[in-house]
């Protein structure tokens, strides 16, 4: 495969005391793909993502993002990544516009450049009438889109989404995935964790995590094929809980 590797993880281990959250993870993410990190709650998805974002330090192992080492080049990595957590990370007592302005500001986007970009964003999201409404008062689906747009505001080549669709209705989830597709089409590498099995189908490649280990990693079609399953939910059950699947 001649695809460019943008994230390389080797033997990544993270322990919290006796508990091993990430047990020797090995995987690669290619440029411009949507890479799904699938697993039950507590499987270690968020931990691995936090390490890649520099929010947490690994116990051992190596990881490399766009040629930058996560131990030494944390600062430079932060400039080229976007991050959206499952809690959306917005200030509820600030307006939509003020939220965008604050987060743009910490990435050094201000003045004319900011005005131009914020105008474009507001038009794109079609939120002209709520731009000056407090975030606490807008619907969850809008918050989610806003959080994603803010994570993408400084145009990072890689974006990490930590369970971005949890707690959102299926229709909104579908809309949100359209935004992800659009970003991927523009060449952004999307690293997304989820515990919704159906969402795995939307990813280019999926890695299934179980108890801190990667149980399988491939395209959704191949995963279904090898497991002999009709959908990702089946794949998950067969891989992660083989005993149960047989019942």
């Amino acid at each position: 495969m001649d695809k460019e590797r943008i994230i390389i993880v080797k033997d990544l281990v993270k322990r919290f005391g006796d508990f091993t959250a990430n047990d020797h993870l090995n995987f690669e993410v290619y440029k411009g793909e949507i890479f799904g990190f699938l697993g039950a709650n507590g499987a270690g998805k968020t931990t691995a993502m936090k390490i890649l974002c520099g929010l947490s330090k690994p116990t051992s192992g190596e990881a490399n993002i766009a040629g930058l080492d996560i131990y030494k080049d944390t600062h430079n990595i932060r400039k080229i990544i976007g991050y959206m957590s499952q809690r959306f990370s917005l200030y509820e007592d600030l307006t939509v516009y003020e939220n965008i302005r604050f987060f743009a500001g910490i990435y050094g986007i201000r003045g004319k450049e900011f005005k131009k970009k914020v105008q474009k964003l507001i038009e794109k999201l079609n939120i002209q009438n709520v731009a000056h409404t407090l975030v606490g008062a807008i619907p969850l689906g809008w918050k989610q889109k806003l959080a994603f747009s803010i994570a993408m505001f400084h145009e990072p080549p890689i974006v990490f989404l930590d369970e971005p669709t949890s707690g959102v209705d299926p229709h909104t989830r579908r809309q949100f995935w359209e935004m992800i597709y659009q970003a991927a089409e523009e060449g952004v590498t999307v690293f997304v964790t989820t515990h919704y099995m159906d969402e795995a189908e939307y990813c280019d490649r999926v890695s299934i995590m179980d108890h801190g280990k990667i149980a399988a990693l491939d395209t959704p079609a191949k995963l279904r094929e090898t497991a002999g399953a009709v959908n990702m939910n089946d794949v998950f059950l067969k891989l992660v809980r083989p005993q149960k699947a047989e019942l």
């Binding site: 957590s85 499952q86 809690r87 600030l94 500001g105 201000r110």
Partner: protein, 366 residues
């Protein structure tokens, strides 16, 4: 620098949109200053008194006049029946009753001994104590004057240095600065940082290219600014409204205040690193810091009067050193050489809090 403007703006919006924080920040210093300046007054003026004069001669009348003209007392009732004393105390109208025995002047002149009884309402012990002391003093004075007529062989002169009129507000200015620094710098900072942790916005800031020190400074700077403006409000109100003198070097005075505010901010950061939510941060700041600052710093209750173990405990609260230092500079006009120990202790505490915070922060990342 531009990043800080963003933080400033954001933090101010938070404060303005939250009515409670706005009140704490803007009105607290002014209201507290007015309350402490006007309402809380430790001196006694015009306490109600009743006199039961069973003798009614020149001497008892002279003593009564002296007591009533002292300014400390106001005659509420002249009584003739002992049973009325209990009633008066119960009604709460009088705080003290003076009883002269029968034939007071005659006994004084012929037998050389005359008796006067002072009864005080000690449901407020401090007050009762002070009133009895005042009365004793006035009577003793009268006696000395009577015995030596014009010429007094022993003359006692007392002066209250640094606060001639015993104005309570002199004491409250340093205390109030300490209290508000704790409230704004420590409590508000720790709450605002924990709020970001709770809402997940801290993560979003942490993944940005901002360096940890920039994040901390960005969070802390707005509160430092507010604390400083409150400091200036208190100092100005102190001098223009209440006439508190600033006898020492104004630069040193400000430097001590700023150091204390910085220490309070580091404490706020420390509290935010150890507490997992806003409520916890608030409880630690309130119960753990605000109350001891009021009670154990010598702000209201003299440390010397506390039991030994409590005096030892009072050493761990930074406000104690700050109040000592500030009083020395403000009221006594002392220089750096007299307060370097206090300054060093506050500085040491600040470094300790910052050091532990950095360590905690690193552990959290790892």
């Amino acid at each position: 620098m531009k990043q800080f403007i963003g933080f400033f703006r954001k933090e101010f919006i938070h404060i303005i949109r939250d009515f409670r924080s706005l009140m704490i920040l803007l009105l607290m210093p002014v209201i507290m200053m007015l309350i402490f300046g006007y309402a809380i007054n430790m001196d006694i003026k015009n306490a109600g008194i009743a006199i039961m004069d069973m003798s009614g001669d020149d001497m008892t009348r002279e003593i009564s006049d002296k007591i009533l003209s002292s300014g400390y007392f106001e005659l509420n009732e002249v009584i003739s029946d002992q049973s009325r004393v209990e009633e008066l105390f119960k009604e709460g109208k009088v705080k003290e009753v003076l009883v002269f025995e029968q034939d007071f002047a005659r006994k004084y002149n012929s037998e050389g001994v005359a008796k006067v009884q002072i009864l005080a309402d000690a449901s407020d012990p401090n007050n009762a104590n002070m009133l009895v002391n005042y009365t004793n003093g006035i009577i003793a004075n009268y006696l000395i004057q009577k015995q030596f007529s014009e010429f007094l062989p022993l003359q006692v002169q007392s002066r209250f240095r640094y606060n001639e009129n015993l104005e309570s507000v002199y004491m409250f200015v340093p205390g109030l600065i300490a209290l508000l620094a704790m409230l704004i710098s420590t409590m508000m900072t720790s709450i605002s940082i924990t709020r970001e942790k709770e809402n997940g916005t801290m993560e979003a800031i942490l993944v940005s290219p901002l360096k940890p020190w920039q994040i901390v400074l960005g969070k802390v700077a707005p509160y430092a600014f507010i604390a400083l403006s409150n400091l200036i409000v208190i100092l100005l109100m102190g001098t223009f409204v209440f006439g508190v003198p600033y006898r020492g070097n104004l630069f040193l005075l400000l430097a001590v205040c700023i150091l204390f505010i910085l220490m309070a901010l580091s404490l706020g950061i420390l509290i935010s690193t150890i507490s997992s939510n806003q409520l916890m941060a608030m409880i630690i700041s309130m119960v753990g810091l605000l109350l001891p600052t009021i009670l154990l710093s010598g702000y209201i209750f003299p440390i010397e009067n506390m039991p030994d173990w409590l005096q030892y405990i009072s050493h761990i609260f930074p406000a104690r050193y700050f109040i000592t230092a500030l009083k020395a500079v403000m009221l006594k006009g002392l220089g750096f050489l007299y307060i370097w120990k206090e300054i060093l202790i506050i500085f040491g505490m600040m470094m300790l809090f910052l050091g532990v915070s950095i360590k905690k922060f690193k552990i959290r990342l790892a």
